[in-house]
Structure formats: structure tokens, C-alpha cells
Symmetry: C2
Subunit: 208 residues, 2 copies
């Protein structure tokens, strides 16, 4: 996967192959958003004008690099998670025994299939907190990039949430489903609130 | 640029190199969003259940392919546009003549530098209209992908708008700046409204 060119990724996404899909796309957009934050840091580090925040910038650069690498690795993880889900959907369901077995397998793989989209959302939320600090402390010349990164992280969070919801929809265990939906809704709310605040602040600074 | 791997793109973005920056990142996220719409089409085309919408699906697949290719090409275009802007910023400004010359050059390149972000926003808006139709007519099994695509296109529109705003900020010609800001605000409003409607509808269909 690591040798894949950008256009190959887009074409694999567009194809009818089940992965990469919405989860992988969200993870990639999140990595792009975090990388924009790293760019702000790299345009700030070592500059005389920003010497007072130099330790913060260095810390944020390290955090951003680990975070975009993690988000990038979640593209492969999301594809990996899909395999047992596809296998479970393909299980026979003719006899009552087959149906019971299929249902038990499904219950497990559906919960597992939520792990990666939830992790993408958590990483994107961490990315938004970084972006907020980068917009505040980083070079003013790159403030639009911090805002753009926040906008892409918001897209990633919203996109990933739908992958939790579609798996939760099929769960027989409604208690577990509701628990996952609740966790997702909370991250959606926080993500959209944080991203909109960063975007509005940056826009305000640009338009005055 | 076309041989660049995904991780190389992310690392170039994260570096202090001026491009790719917020514009290129927005274009890429937009291409990813449109590709998700194409995926929905490719999971729908030829299916008996969707025979009634087959001509629409085929048309949308053609439109989506042209659109993600266009958005992808705007990454290179945005980098190209940056060159005269960087050259203008580097012009001498010691004598009144130099300052007058620099100002005249700046006026032109700043307006030009808005063209690609505006085009990214227009393409992303077209992508949202496609995504809306895909969510409505495409396979219900892939509806979360149509919604995820819309979320990423929303991120792309918001991210690109900040590149118009940062260039408009530096324009001496306030009338031209206000005209560009107004056009951008209108697309921002339409983009966020359309994307939120698609997202809410898809979420509602998944959660019931």
C-alpha cells in the first residue's frame, strides 16, 4: 500500500472494490489535515519572531508527525477489518443452526468494524486540538493552512462517523449499538464545534 | 507529480515547501470525496435492483471520473500559481519606483492566485450535487460512502475558501477583493448547506 501513487489511491477508491471505502478516505483526509498543521510548524520553527513558542512548536511537530503516520496506517487497518465482515456476510443462512452461527459471528465482527472509524475520529480530534494551538502560536503567514487543516479534519470526523453508524445499524445487540452511537455522537459534536471555532477565528483574522 | 506516492504527498505537505499547501490539500480531499461518489456508482451499476436508474448512474460515473481527475489536476495548478506570487513578494521595495512596480505586479498575481481555490470550490460544489443524486439513486448498501464523500467535499470547500481570503487580505484594490470575498462566501454558504443536508439525510437513513 505504501508504494501506491495518489492517483492509484483515488482510482482504487472509485472502483467497486470494497476497500478503500469511506473509512480509508476519512483516514487519508485526516492525515492530510494534520500534515497541514505540521507545515505551519515547519514554517514557524527556528524563526526569530517565534522564539518564545519554539519548544511548543517542536513538541507539536513531533505530535503531528506521529499523528499523520497513525492516520495513514488506519487506511490499511480499515481494509484489514473489512475482511472478517465480508466473510461473515458470506456465511450460509439456510438452516437454523447456520443462522445462529452467522448471527453470533456477525455480532462480533460488526463491533470490531467500528474500532477503526472510532480511532480515526479520536485521532482527528487530537489533530483539531493541535491545529487550534498551531493557529494560535504558529506563523501568522500560514494561519490559513492551520484553518484549512481544521476544515479537512472536520470532514474526516464526519465521514468516519457514518462508518460507525452503518455498522451499528446492523447490530442485533441494540444496547451495544446505542453505546457506540452515543460515543460517536459525542465526538461528532466536539469535532464540529472545535473545527468551526478554528475556521471562524482564522477567517476573522484574514478578513478582519 | 503523478508518480508521487500517498505518503510522499503527505510529507511534502508537512514540509516547509510552500506547495503543496492548503489549496493542494483541499483539491486532493475534494478528489477523494468525488471518488467515493464514483464508488457508490460502481457498486450500483449493472445491478438488477437499480435498472430504472442505470442511465443516471452511467452519466454520474462519467461526471465523477472527469471531476476527480480535474480536482487532482488542480493540485499541480495551485502549485504553478504560487510561483509568480513568490516572485512578486521577492521584488525589491527600496525606491518609490520599485515600490510602485511591486505593487502593480502584486495586484495582478494576487487576483490570479485566487483562481485555483475558486475553481476547487466550484468543482467541489458540482461534486456535492453529484453526491446528493448518488445518495438518492445509488445502492442503499453504499449510502454511507455517499455521505462520507459529501463530508470530505465540505472540508475541501471550507479549506479552499481560506486561500481566497488570505490573498484577498493583501489586495490594495478593495473593490476587487470584496467581489472575490462575496463570491467565496456564497459558495461557502451553498457548500455547507448542501453537505449538511446530505450528511443529515444519510445519518437519518442509517440510524432510522
Amino acid at each position: 500500500m505504501n508504494d501506491r501513487t495518489c492517483m492509484q489511491f483515488i482510482e482504487e477508491l472509485a472502483s467497486s472494490a470494497p476497500t478503500p471505502g469511506g473509512g480509508g478516505a476519512a483516514a487519508f483526509a485526516g492525515a492530510i489535515g494534520v500534515a497541514l498543521g505540521a507545515m505551519v510548524g515547519n514554517l514557524t520553527t527556528g524563526k526569530k519572531k517565534y522564539v518564545a513558542v519554539q519548544p511548543d512548536i517542536e513538541r507539536m511537530l513531533d505530535e503531528a508527525k506521529a499523528l499523520y503516520q497513525k492516520l495513514y496506517s488506519l487506511i490499511a487497518q480499515d481494509a484489514e477489518d473489512f475482511k472478517p465482515l465480508a466473510a461473515a456476510y458470506a456465511l450460509p443462512k439456510t438452516t437454523p443452526e447456520e443462522r445462529a452461527h452467522r448471527e453470533a459471528v456477525m455480532a462480533e465482527v460488526l463491533v470490531n468494524a467500528c474500532n477503526t472509524p472510532l480511532e480515526i475520529m479520536r485521532c482527528a480530534l487530537t489533530g483539531l486540538r493541535l491545529q487550534e494551538e498551531m493557529a494560535e502560536k504558529g506563523s501568522v503567514m500560514a494561519v490559513s493552512d492551520a484553518g484549512a487543516g481544521a476544515a479537512l479534519l472536520q470532514g474526516a470526523i464526519n465521514a468516519a462517523s457514518l462508518n460507525v453508524f452503518i455498522n451499528a445499524k446492523s447490530m442485533k445487540d441494540r444496547e451495544k449499538a446505542e453505546e457506540l452511537i452515543k460515543e460517536t455522537e459525542a465526538m461528532l459534536e466536539e469535532g464540529n464545534r472545535r473545527a468551526e471555532k478554528i475556521f471562524t477565528d482564522v477567517k476573522q483574522r484574514l478578513l478582519g
